[in-house]
């Protein structure tokens, strides 16, 4: 006969399979947790384990929640379940061999990972990719940004309960993946670029496909907006949920759409242009009060800006070689550089130290999702359990990148 009720469960007597509570309480001990409100009939707080395989945690992220009834007192993220030691592997591979590993980190935006790495090594070798290669790189990266945002929108809306956007976004994302497949043979982890330029010349129908895609997508994005932007329940579930102020965002090193939604007008493509971004004009969407709804509008606007960039890039794509003169065996001079690009999730940086040999001495990847996830604790304190799911969705984290 179940003689205990939920609220009288002291953390210690939870079934071990349920939560490793002693370990959980150790985790949470250091956090300065809000005291549960002393009510007339005081309900003691409960530790719930949003475990590694929870349906809404975008991969293997374990969040330990300390709840007072429904309110979240404190959270502790336990990560590392998907740690493959990419940086250790880098030290035992040559520069070109390491290139495919980079795609496996943020598998949703693999093209921009590749772009970051290739440009970092080019900077180390002090060589410049030819203009045509740069344009192709910009087109593919922006397409990838669109695909990443679409995937984000689909799963984010699904977490909050709206089922239909998921299918719309995945249908449109399919078009982009087709273009990638035709260009470089792979859909997700594309390995599209090489150090010094692009591997393949664009297949002969490339411009036609991209232009067809550019006319196909804008009404589709309006379709997503139609479904969600003015949907009262969507507004209610996202307005001032997971608010992060401008100062907190900067202090926490949050970057990308999450930072822009808090009012910081900063985008690496404009601040420190790389790979031919200086030739295109596009705006940077900025939010005002940094809540989930602002992040939603910022990302939707970014999708449209990406389309503008791709259209300009396709119109002005120059002819010419696609691969710079790169020595057969890449042995960059001794030294270290840090190069970062604007990935869909935020600032993706590569800090490469070379000791003159063919293998990098140290490759440090600065993952945007890892740093953005740190902001979860502040955004969620005092919110409800349903908001934790919404906030994890709006941070747009990919566990491959968080754990590396």
């Amino acid at each position: 006969m179940p003689d205990r009720t939920m609220f009288d469960l002291k953390p210690t007597d939870l079934k071990p399979a349920d939560t490793k509570t002693d370990e959980a309480t150790k985790y949470l001990s250091h956090l300065e947790l809000g005291e549960p409100d002393k009510t007339f009939l005081d309900s003691n707080e409960l530790i719930i384990n949003m475990g590694p395989q929870h349906p809404a945690t975008h991969g293997v992220l374990r969040v330990i929640l300390k709840l007072d009834g429904e309110k979240v007192l404190g959270t502790e993220c336990v990560i590392g379940y998907l740690h493959r030691g990419v940086e250790k592997i880098a030290e035992n591979r040559t520069y070109t061999m390491f290139n495919p590993y980079v795609d496996r980190m943020d598998y949703v935006a693999a093209v921009s990972n590749g772009l970051g790495y290739c440009e970092a090594v080019e900077k180390l070798l002090n060589i410049e990719a030819p203009p045509r290669a740069k344009y192709i790189r910009v087109i593919l990266t922006e397409l990838n940004r669109l695909a990443s945002h679409q995937l984000w929108l689909g799963t984010h809306a699904l977490d909050i309960g709206a089922m239909t956007p998921l299918f719309y976004t995945f249908r449109d994302r399919e078009e982009i993946l087709k273009i990638f497949e035709k260009y470089c043979g792979a859909r997700l982890t594309t390995h599209a670029f090489r150090i010094g330029g692009c591997q393949y010349e664009t297949y002969e129908g490339f411009e036609r496909d991209v232009i067809k895609f550019l006319d196909f997508v804008p009404p589709k994005i309006d379709e997503y907006e139609e479904l969600l932007t003015t949907n009262r329940i969507w507004l209610e579930r996202t307005k001032n949920v997971g608010v992060i102020s401008r100062a907190d965002a900067i202090a926490l090193g949050v970057t990308g759409p999450v930072l822009r939604a808090s009012g910081v007008k900063w985008d690496l493509r404009k601040a420190q242009p790389y790979a031919a971004y200086s030739d295109f004009d596009f705006e940077i969407p900025v939010g005002t009060n940094g809540d989930t709804y602002d992040r939603y509008t910022v990302r939707m606007e970014e999708m449209r800006q990406s389309l503008r960039i791709i259209r300009q890039a396709v119109d002005k794509i120059p002819e010419g070689p696609i691969m710079a003169k790169v020595p057969k065996v890449i042995k960059p001079p001794v030294g270290e550089i840090y190069h970062s690009i604007e990935a869909p999730k935020g600032e993706l940086g590569y800090f490469i130290v070379s000791d003159g040999s063919t293998q990098p001495y140290r490759v440090r990847v600065r993952p945007p999702s890892f740093v953005n996830l740190q902001a979860l604790g502040i955004m969620v304190r005092g919110a409800l359990v349903a908001d934790v799911i919404a906030v994890i969705g709006t941070l747009d984290i990919v566990l491959g990148e968080v754990d590396r």
């Binding site: 179940p2 349920d18 909050i160 309960g161 089922m163 299918f167 359990v385 349903a386």
Partner: protein, 426 residues
């Protein structure tokens, strides 16, 4: 014995009223059989319509266009192992789905499919309906408690709190509709205190009142009737834990709410109960606001020709369905693998066409008239349910309670007061 049976046929009252036990049981069997078939059809419709909303095909594999999918589901659920959690409370665990099922099916005793087509006509029809629908809360709480684990208990507490609070809002809307039955003016704003001066609670009485007043209560005192209907529509969606209010079984937070630990046949009882409750609650909305079994505009478009036109509708709809089926048959790919499916679909189309033709035969046509209109209106509501589910994201629990208590209830009381004032003043 025989005359006991035939005697009822002459008296045009409901079997319950005429105290005729035999016909009452016949009606009960017909209604409950009809509801189970309707639940199966509703299940198929929901999966297909939801799929087409989301630009996918939905079940296509089992039978032509997935027509046999509900049957396949039913068999699967029957044969699945029925797990009872270790420390669960056997008796409470076993009885919970039964209570929900009985509660949602008991409502059908009162629902009038036609002037005489109702199991019985309690003169407290609406009150009985409200009472019984509040019983299903018990079932949910017991289901949550008996599964003896965190998440079902939280899910059960949440959904019972939700149902209790939306019952209040639903009650307000119903009372304002019942209030309108006591008025006797014609047309939307006509009013005059009738002879008895008091309305009726009995469902058939309400529908007849709408007939006498030549207006559906939806349009009575125009904004008020409509607002009351709106409140009832929202409350009924919340009452059956559907669409924007389906928080208890919100997958993203609490895995699957109060029926997490159930499986196999017991779980299908929950589903059966939920769909039956959906049909029941929407048929009450139809009775109260959309003029039950009367065809649209019974009073304005009267006269022989109009009656004939409206009476053809049932036959036409079935023929239309048959036509759709045949279009499906023609578009079926010619591959031999699909031959069985084309034959099946063609047979199904033929059956529908046959029913359509039968419905044109005059005696059948008149008798089927009111049942058809009632079912058509309820079907409209069912489609609304699916539409909600496709478009709306989910409310958070506190927002859900806020809407229930701070929005629906005040408006409900406001509408009630205004209807009363208008009823007296006009």
């Amino acid at each position: 014995m025989l005359d006991y049976i035939t005697s009822y046929l002459s008296s045009n009252t409901t079997p319950g009223q005429a105290g005729n036990v035999f016909w009452a049981t016949v009606y009960i069997l017909v209604v409950f059989g009809g509801i189970s078939v309707a639940v199966m059809a509703m299940n198929w419709l929901e999966r297909k319509a939801l799929a087409h909303f989301q630009i996918r095909l939905g079940p296509m594999r089992v039978g032509p266009h997935g027509l046999l999918q509900p049957i396949a589901d039913a068999i699967k659920l029957m044969t699945k192992e029925d797990i009872i959690p270790a420390e669960a409370d056997k008796f409470v665990f076993w009885i919970a789905p039964l209570i929900i099922l009985c509660a949602s099916f008991a409502v059908y005793i009162v629902i009038p499919f036609g002037p005489t087509h109702a199991i019985t006509d309690l003169n407290i029809g609406i009150l009985f309906m409200l009472g019984v629908s509040s019983l299903s809360v018990l079932g949910i709480v017991m289901a949550g408690w008996a599964s003896n684990s965190h998440y079902p208990l939280i899910g059960a507490l949440r959904s019972s709190a939700q149902m209790v609070s939306y019952e209040v809002a639903m009650g307000m809307a119903v009372v304002s509709a019942v209030l309108m039955t006591s008025l006797h003016g014609l047309g939307p704003y006509g009013v005059g205190v009738g002879t008895s001066g008091t309305g009726t609670l009995s469902m058939i009485g309400i529908v007849q009142a709408q007939q006498e007043q030549h207006v559906w209560f939806l349009f009575k005192f125009f904004p008020l009737g409509f607002i009351a209907f709106g409140i009832f529509a929202i409350a009924m969606v919340a009452e059956t834990n559907r669409a924007p209010f389906d928080l208890p079984e919100a997958e993203s937070e609490l895995t699957a709410g109060f029926h997490t630990e159930y499986s196999g046949l017991r779980w299908s009882l929950f589903m059966l109960g939920e769909y039956a409750a959906m049909i029941a609650v929407s048929s009450i909305a139809v009775t109260l606001w959309l003029g039950g079994w009367y065809r649209p505009f019974p009073n304005t478009l009267t006269g022989e020709t109009w009656d004939l036109v409206f009476s053809l509708f049932p036959g036409l709809t079935f023929l239309g369905l048959a036509a759709i089926a045949f279009v499906g048959v023609r578009r079926m790919p010619k591959h031999p693998y699909f031959r069985v499916q084309t034959i099946g679909l063609a047979g199904f189309g033929a059956v529908l066409g046959l029913i359509g033709l039968i419905l044109f035969v005059p005696p059948v046509r008149n008798r089927i008239q009111d049942i058809f209109w009632f079912v058509a209106k309820v079907a409209g509501f069912m489609y609304l349910y699916i539409w909600y589910r496709a478009t709306f994201p989910r409310y958070r629990f506190d927002q859900l309670m806020k809407v229930g208590w701070k929005v629906l209830l005040p408006i409900g009381i406001g509408v009630l007061i205004l209807t009363a004032i208008l009823g007296v003043v006009l």
